[in-house]
Amino acid sequence: MNFTLKIWRQENSKAKGRFKTYKIENISPDCSFLEMLDILNEKLIHDKIELPVDPVAFDHDCREGICGMCSLYINGHPHGPEQGTTVCQVHMRKFQDGDTIVIEPWRAKAFPIIKDLMVDRSAFDKIIQEGGYISASTGGVPDANSILVSKEYADMAMDAAACIGCGACVAACKNASAMLFVAAKVSQFALLPQGHPEAKRRVQAMVSKMDELGFGSCTNTYACEAECPKNISVEHIARMNREFLKSKLTHAEKKRIGGFG
């Protein structure tokens, strides 16, 4: 198969970017999208078509759809046209021979471009650090089967926990909102008894960090759900909103001074 690729090239975070066009030929339909980019980079390196040689920079790692590292915006869709799939799992058979394919990085204020197609998603880590966990220190926890979780709730928690933190939801959203990402984590712990003691603090801290980092607000377009490679449902956003409201109505953490010392 032959393709024309229009790829966003940008030297570094401060430089001005632009599209560059590349022709690529004889690609097997069984080749994955990232392998097709590997072939392009090999061509740039071997044939030295343009000087200085500068392969296209893109993030990738596991190439089996789970690490969340790959992040390409293809023909107007995060992770490309195929639903429920990360770009590393998209194969060229999903395109037509002769297609022109436009490849861009995630675009969001909170995800600055590093080089070409690589972006900085450390904002996601910062949100998790605010409370996207259960503060169980190592050791001193009860036997695993002493905490019962109904299968229904365990399954729903797992649906939320399947989020790979790739940022497609943000890239898909016209407001660059991170609601689906944050909601997936809040919802996972709201559905599990282990998560309840910290529930109020968690949702408030994570939401306020999200706002602080420059993510936009949610206007219920559901683009995030449509583009999520793991099919995370917007139901989790609804659950997070309930959690948030509940916490605002009932949560008043008092500072207490002193102790038993």
Partner: protein, 647 residues
Amino acid sequence: MTQLNAKIPQGSLQEKWTNYKANQKLVNPANKRKFEIIVVGTGLAGASAASALGELGFNVKVFCIQDSPRRAHSISAQGGINAAKNYPNDGDSIWRLFYDTIKGGDFRSREANVYRLAEVSNNIIDQCVAQGVPFARDYAGYLDNRSFGGAQVSRTFYARGQTGQQLLLGAYGALSKEIKRGSVKMYTRHEMLDLVIVDGIARGIITRDTITGKIERFAAHAVIIATGGYGNVYFLSTNALNCNASAIWNCYKKGAFFANPAFVQIHPTCIPVHGDYQSKLTLMSESLRNDGRIWVPKKKEDVEAIRSKKLRAVDIPENDRDYFLERRYPAFGNLVPRDVASRAAKERCDAGYGIGPTGLAVYLDFSESIRRLGRDVIESRYGNLFQMYEKIVDENPYENPMMIFPAVHYTMGGLWVDYELQSTVPGLFVAGEANFSDHGANRLGASALMQGLADGYFILPYTLQNYLADQIGVQKFETDLPEFELAEKETIEKLQRLLAIQGKYSVATLHKKLGKIMWENVGMARDEARLKQAIEAIRSLKQEFWKEVYVPGSLTGVNDELLKANRLADYLELAELIAHDALLRNESCGCHFRVEYQSEDGEALRNDEEYKYVSCWEYQGEGVEPQLHKEPLEYEFVELKSRNYKV
């Protein structure tokens, strides 16, 4: 010469870890604050170690190569994690998990280490549940289990086909909690390029920031390496593309012994290779062997008809199918350990019964389970794996059996460590797949997650204190010491040398060549002649690399090709050590199958008289043959037997 001392505690097997903990030295809370610890890697072992040590009050610096600690390759582990809970009441115990692991490793691992692993396995499950890991549950709300290879009990806990992801996100959560608290400082997109040793003790590392290209120095009282395995030496493997051996290899070159490099696990159920553009291989979880049956046609004419697409698998009647694992190993059937299953598949393909366009594949068939349990049950158990298969192969595995073939997956070998997980370099600790400690010559399924978390949550927080207790009063190190300066200078010089070659081949071209040499000669079947040939071929490829590699760009800024070239330079040296170790081990054990040493029915033939030891390699300098040290393996508590999965 360094004397190997595994420091195994006194007492019966059941008492050793208890005795160790009762007698070890501790560091009081006020002193813990004065210690700095470096952890390299944020997979299960690294993230759990960093968070647990942070909780204790140490100052921890953690490094990872990806943009977030959550991306480490532990995330890709699919099937599950073992523990000796015996929740299903099917006869499991700590002893049985210990014994299965020792036997699965073909009696080439340390009894004391493996027993401790089995002992702490139950704590891991408790910890993960407390963290909110959404393990699979039954309708009453209790935890569910499934079985894995090499065991006759169901002891594997799982979260759909994403157990590694969920455990890693649990550890990542714990790590994030400590980052927020300020006990842990995280450095993402930093690749460790060298170890710094001051007065014989590990005191720091040299890293490169993969965005800016900046080379940096970091100092600490102790260094923990948790950077995973070296399967990518083979180019094609189930590892993520950025997994690499440079951290452990540089530790080796600084004096840490490398143990059992030849022990490389080849996993039986992976999606077969389909083109030379391919960048990696994808695993299909071992858990599939719970409900999938492996077979090839009995008749050569059926094989031909399938290859030429005149017949489909479903057209082959039951009687004309050879369920070769069930035939050869009636007691364990499709759930034999990985090395056994891989070799059996290779044997059928070599004999001309392989299916698929290349003849290098066998079937993994779910039709019987779908008939018995219904498609919904199969979908709920393995849905995401079936979906992944369909995306890659473009065939529906509910209707046609999957095609699978073995691929490089995990490395049992790694840096040598004693019972405390300390290498031969004082102050240098190694955890998870990066060390050699627990799996002998073959790892059982669902045991890598167990070992990574055991090392990080429950072993290092103890043993590291025992080490640091003797360091009280040692001031924080400054990175302007001449040792740091020299290590940094050497690192930069190596990178500059790579950039200066300006040859004609890309890194990937040469890496593929190395992969081919390794897969063909140091893979599933090894023999003296081919291993010698491989060593020659690796040496000449290494020369070619240093003359003909082309690395564009410069030291500064994003430069993936430079990173890859540096990793390949290390792989080329490690590859020779793997082949060398395989050549010297004149026996077959676990994954290490030397064609010369097999029984009449093709089973691995161990030689306990001469090879019941861990081979530990000491670096002797560029171009000099490394020195072999042997750590004898004593079996005080189990009887050495030849592995039998037939009855």
